[in-house]
Subunit: 523 residues, 2 copies
């Protein structure tokens, strides 16, 4: 498989125009860092200098790297591996026996509270940074070209506004939800709210649900997010600055494309780079290649539930390996828990695997996945159908997009047993439509005039060259909500109509009474 | 000047994937054809077969061409050069002495009536085509890959829907107004209506005006456009098909970009190809080169009021040449009228000129233009500031965009005299900000990852390869307007709240009366 492209005759390197820039990166820890690191490496490769702000308690973000220099803050970042793994374990416990509305609500509350804690620590962190006069001065002196940040917390954006630097987002979620909702008109009639598990084709009651979830989400933000930042923003930016204005970015590099995401309104400064992290498969390590080749004509099934879920409750793990054991295929499962008793000879448990290289191997027939964005994008890139076992966060939504396109099947991991899992695997393996549809998605995804990563880098460098991209930013940010929605104009027009009608009614009344009086007199 | 670009390492020609396609083009005559022809020539160059539908009375569209084969309909197209030139002459007369609200209204009515006549003839033309069973069968048999059309009239789109072929628009205006308004959310608070002469920064009363003009435009469409097509669409597509559904295109190739247009919401299937027709300047014919070089350090002023305005009322032409005669610059004016008596030695009147090549000449200091889209895009591409004399159509709006960016000045041609014109020229020539701003626009426009024409062709070929681009089309088209705006959901929620409140009130009332009765009894 390779990128379809056209002969772009004007492609030459213009060395005088390639500006070796300085980029200040304020990343979000955890799986978000994996994405950011791809861009950082590419920036380094193109000769730019990258500085990364991290905390002493950083989890994924290493202090030393050949690709960047780090600025380590002696503060808590709020991103906490232990908490997250504990949360996932609790989640598996909460959801056992299937999901009810109550369990769902409890889960959302749990997540909101966790998010609130993270945001509180992030807000303290940025305040600490602002009060570190020496560090702030050194950041000013460094004359960065731009701040590159992930707006899952607003911290990086606030720093960019404070330093008055151009701002580029590497974004899937902002602290207020899915990236588009902060910037592009999002008619709730066909744009599903994140976490709603709704598609872009909604019945009346689904549209109603979408509106209600939107209201709930707005309430959650007001309750759990804004209080941590409002005082901070007032203190450093003055009383007239609101939270949303911090998000006036020059560019939004969105980690989706419309092969994956439902089509929806967008904005001129949104660049779609979905699948930017995907690369052609490299050869496998010999032991894996041997194992894969040993599968013969049956091929191989790959399973991974992401980095956060190293192990499962024993009965669930047993059910999975028992189902696998019945298959003629070979199976590679990234699993760190105890070896299940029902493990078949055909199944290889591994601590880590070169997931993308395996997905690109022609022997791979099926990907059993939790539905994290990276894994789903890699499956699309390599054209491997998915059996989805979503757990939390955006995983249900990600897999819904695959299911809607007929490129995968989703089963509920919390009510699943050996039989259900086995039937699920058999269905995706034997019904050719899953593979055909996923390969169609793969062809569409690869058929772009420019590779997503190259496009993202072009636009980051565009911001360096032109010191921002103000000409792509709409005026919408500057309007209060009632003006944005023309509510003031509508009320004014309604008042005018009312005045005209009242005047008219008054006139009629006066005329009538005059007429009656005259008549009365005459009588 | 040249295109800034990045080294796109994956750019190779994939001959197996380049599909020699068959494209059915249904163009709009007049200046729109000039644009369409650029794409047709490029399609031909890339090995695609192009068929163009034209009428026997076609005005710009020639029957024979090395780039396409034509399908000539023995019917009136409605596009009428004589009418348009007469209209422009009348316009110059109407507007003389400046524009008043009444003159403006009269002009709009005049235009609406002319448009209505064109639409009526276009509707007859498409009906005639549908009734020509032999021709329709031959179009079906030809197995075109797609229909490429300009939606300034809906005819080409209706033909595509009838033939069930993928549909690509080459668009600036649809029959209902500016292209975006048919497809993308357009908040009237910062998206000005075409013809409003408003920018994206509006005061309260400008926003009010924008809403009123929107209402007026909707009324005009209902009155002058829909009646010509409603019966036709019902006859050939059934009673449940509405006019707007004809516009469900796979792609909208928009003839603007956000260097020219105010930033606004857009859609995944909108491709911006503003300036696609622009090319580096070729050497001038010797006599022109000699004339240009003779200007020395003062440079040259270029003037053109477009192909429709060959001549002006004599007093206006005299004022213009008299002002030119005072300048040390040389002037080239594309003018077909009688030679004005005040014509200076420095001014060359020409019937035709290689406008783009002249604009790209380093001696050119200023472009005096009427503000047609092509001329404005060429001025941006070559970085030449504009003195605008807008007359009609989108010319005021086009020039407003240049003026807002500080890259040109606009004067009212109808109240203008020699002095005003001279002062206007001097201002743009002597204030360096005009040139600096236009060169900034030029740099921004040229700094794209892929040339606009290459991008447009990539996406046309994408539609050929994938038999459409359904994955980029939103669900919004399928919703009735009240569902699209969630009005049904809001009414339902309001009803629920009302029922709850009424029940509550009733309950209170019952309790009160029970309490009173008990009290009464006890007393």
């Amino acid at each position: 498989m390779h990128w379809t492209c056209i002969l772009i005759s004007f492609c030459w390197l213009c060395p005088t125009l390639v500006h070796a820039g300085k980029v200040l990166v304020f990343p979000v820890d955890g799986s978000h860092w994996v994405n950011m690191n791809v861009i950082i490496q590419e920036l380094h490769l193109r000769g730019h200098q990258v500085s990364v702000v991290r905390s002493t308690d950083s989890w994924y973000i290493k202090e030393s790297s050949p690709f960047y220099t780090s600025i380590t803050l002696d503060m808590e970042s709020g991103f906490d591996e232990d908490f997250l793994t504990a949360f996932i374990a609790e989640l598996l416990d909460i959801q056992k026996g299937g999901m009810s509305v109550w369990k769902r609500f409890k889960l959302e509350m749990e997540l909101a509270k966790k998010n609130s804690e993270v945001q509180k620590k992030q807000s303290k962190l940025i305040e600490g940074l602002f009060e570190n006069k020496e560090l702030i001065q050194s950041l000013k002196d460094a004359e960065y070209d731009l701040v590159l940040t992930d707006p899952a917390t607003p911290t990086g954006a606030i720093l960019a506004q404070y330093l008055k630097l151009p701002l580029v987002f590497n974004v899937r979620w902002t602290s207020q939800g899915e990236g588009h909702f902060s910037i592009a008109p999002s008619p709730l009639s066909y744009v599903p709210i994140v976490g709603s598990e709704l598609s872009d084709k909604m019945s009346f009651f689904e549209r109603l649900l979408n509106v209600l979830i939107f209201g709930f989400a707005e309430h959650q933000i007001a309750q759990y997010l804004l209080p941590h930042y409002e005082n901070l923003i007032e203190k450093y930016f003055g009383p007239d600055t609101d939270y949303l204005s911090m998000f006036q970015a020059d560019l939004w590099l969105m980690r989706v494309d419309f092969v994956f995401e439902f089509p929806r309104p967008t904005m001129p400064n949104v660049i779609y780079m979905g699948g930017f992290q995907c690369k052609p498969a490299k050869p496998l390590p010999q032991h894996l290649e041997d194992f894969v080749q040993s599968s013969g004509e049956h091929g191989v099934i790959l399973m991974s539930l992401g980095t956060l879920i190293g192990e499962l409750p024993p009965d669930l793990a047993e059910a999975i390996t028992a189902a696998f054991a019945k298959l003629p295929q070979k199976v590679i499962w990234r699993y760190k828990g105890d070896r299940p008793g029902t493990l078949g000879n055909n199944t290889l448990l591994v601590d880590w695997m070169p997931q993308s290289d395996l997905l690109g191997h022609p022997k791979i027939k099926l990907f059993v996945a939790h539905g994290g964005t990276n894994g789903v994008q890699e499956a699309i890139y390599h054209g491997v159908p998915i059996l989805g076992l979503p757990l939390v966060f955006d995983q249900h939504d990600n897999l819904l997009r695959i299911k809607e396109r007929g490129a995968g099947k989703v089963i509920d991991v919390f009510t699943m047993n050996e039989d259900i899992f086995f039937q699920g695997i058999m269905e995706v393996l034997t019904d050719p439509s899953y593979g055909v549809n996923m390969q169609r998605l793969s062809r569409l995804h690869r058929d772009q005039p420019i590779k997503p990563l190259d496009n993202a880098l072009f636009w980051i460098e565009f911001v360096m060259r032109h010191k921002g991209a103000a000409h792509l930013r709409t005026e919408s940010y500057k309007l209060p909500w009632y003006s944005y929605h023309s509510i003031d104009v509508i009320l004014f027009l309604a008042a005018v109509v009312l005045v005209i009608l009242s005047t008219f009614a008054l006139l009629i009344k006066c005329l009538c009474s005059m007429f009656l009086r005259t008549k009365h007199k005459r009588d």
